[in-house]
């Protein structure tokens, strides 16, 4: 347990401490300028049109998120089974195939429901 905690904290700490210093250095290194037009978001030269950019998103992105969440959970259930396959034997495998059958049923429903049809 100990080493991986140390490592994770260490890596993060090194990056978090080092990077703001680097960014501060770049401030003093190169040329600088400041103007309203320059600091606008880049929209290929057109004045910013962002105001309404985000309110008509396709709901399919969200549904993909839902489907992924559920399949991800199912796959994580399968991991402990996979590494124990030899001990669990034939019965364990059948249990998992029932589980996977339900997963596939879900997948078939997803196919039928036109979520994955992008016109």
């Amino acid at each position: 347990m100990a080493p991986n905690l140390v490592l994770a904290s260490g890596v993060i700490l090194a990056l978090v401490v080092a990077l703001p210093v680097v960014f501060h250095l770049t401030k003093y290194l190169g040329a600088k300028s400041d103007s309203i037009r320059k600091n606008e978001p880049y929209e290929s030269g057109i004045r910013s049109t962002h105001k309404d950019a985000s309110d008509t998103f396709n709901v399919k992105f969200y549904i993909i998120g839902i489907i992924f969440l559920l399949f991800d959970v199912e796959i994580l259930f399968m991991f402990p089974w996979a590494i124990n396959l030899r001990e669990l034997g034939f019965f364990g495998m059948m249990e998992m195939f029932v589980f996977m059958g339900l997963l596939i049923a879900g997948l078939v429903y997803v196919y039928k429901s036109k979520v994955l049809k992008w016109t």
Binding site: L7, L29, P41, L85, M96, L116
Partner: protein, 327 residues
């Protein structure tokens, strides 16, 4: 826990940070050179011998560029996002045994920062966190191109994570452990998993292209329609961090593929170590080769490929592996 161990870990982390940052820089050089040769150009030529110092020149340019924070962005998140991309790429490297154990001046070195017994899952987990770089970068910049890129990046990342997970299940069934070192040792005894699990290997490889956002699946920052995607508003070193993250990720996933499917470092001899580096170089080269040879595909084709082709294949692969192992 003794002091020597702490010092060793810190030294390893620093070494990994330096090597991977350097690799990311040199990776850009190789990418430009290889793409150039494949397109019958010369690539970088003027800075240094064979243009080798181009990397340094690019670095100087990135450092001296102004760090622009545009109006309308969520400044804090905007600043953090590139750090997340780079940090996750380096964190993932922590669980990878880069070389077999070797001895220098009577001191045994384990070239792995942490030999955790859930190595494969750790790799998957860190890859899952890697999503947050593009996600937060795009959501924080007040730019619709960045936003579209974010939506695409998120949907591609998560869809192909399912493929990564499913394709790893069949090898896991055969090896029976999450540890990357166990994977290596299993393959020493039983031959490469590439030959016993070819389908899983190909699925994982395809998913690797999607997870790193490389060319046939380069929709995240598809230059001709999304400018630079989530990186549009970034400049200077912050954009550079996205870049380092991408290339470090490519090297990291090449290591993972070499370790999981292609025998890793074998029995731990010098030849095995060199072979591992050779395999990694080959996988990295294929990333560049594919970029030169293939056009990008459409987002809907990407989703079709993931959910309707690769996913059933992965499930079938698991079922067949299970039956073969039982009978």
């Amino acid at each position: 826990m003794d002091t020597a161990f702490i010092i060793e870990t810190i030294v390893k982390i620093v070494v990994i940070l330096l090597i991977f940052s350097a690799l990311a820089g040199i990776g850009t050089y190789f990418e430009r050179k290889i793409l150039a040769f494949m397109q019958r150009r010369l690539g970088p030529m003027y800075v240094g011998p064979f243009g080798l110092l181009q990397v340094a020149a690019d670095g100087v340019k990135l450092f001296t560029k102004e760090d622009i924070i545009p109006t309308g962005v969520v400044a804090k998140i905007f600043k953090i996002a590139p750090v997340i991309t780079a940090a996750t790429a380096f964190m993932a490297a922590a669980a990878i045994p880069f070389l077999p154990t070797f001895t220098v001046f009577g001191y045994t070195v384990h070239p792995i920062v942490a030999d955790i017994n859930v190595g494969v899952l750790y790799v998957l987990g860190v890859m899952a966190i890697g999503l947050y770089g593009p996600l937060l970068g795009g959501l924080a910049s007040a730019n619709k191109f960045a936003l579209i890129s974010t939506a695409r990046a998120a949907s591609v990342f998560i869809s192909y994570e399912v493929i990564t997970g499913l394709s790893l299940l069949a090898p896991l069934m055969m090896v029976g452990s999450f540890s990357l070192i166990d994977f290596n040792n299993y393959q020493v005894d039983n031959g490469w998993l590439l030959f016993s699990q070819p389908l899983a290997f190909i699925l994982f490889w395809i998913a690797a292209f999607a997870e790193t956002g490389r060319t046939p699946f380069h929709l995240v920052a598809n230059d001709h329609e999304l400018i630079d995607g989530f990186g549009t508003e970034y400049s200077g070193m912050r954009w550079g961090l996205f870049f380092i993250g991408e290339y470090a990720n490519m090297f990291f996933i090449s290591f993972v593929m070499a370790l999981l499917f292609c025998g890793g470092f074998g029995d731990g001899s010098v030849a095995g170590a060199l072979a591992l580096l050779g395999k990694v170089a080959f996988f990295f080269f294929v990333f560049l080769w594919v970029r030169a040879a293939w056009p990008d595909i459409r987002p809907d084709q990407l989703m079709w490929l993931c959910w309707k082709v690769l996913m059933p294949l992965a499930v079938i692969n698991i079922v067949i592996t299970g039956f073969v192992m039982m009978f």
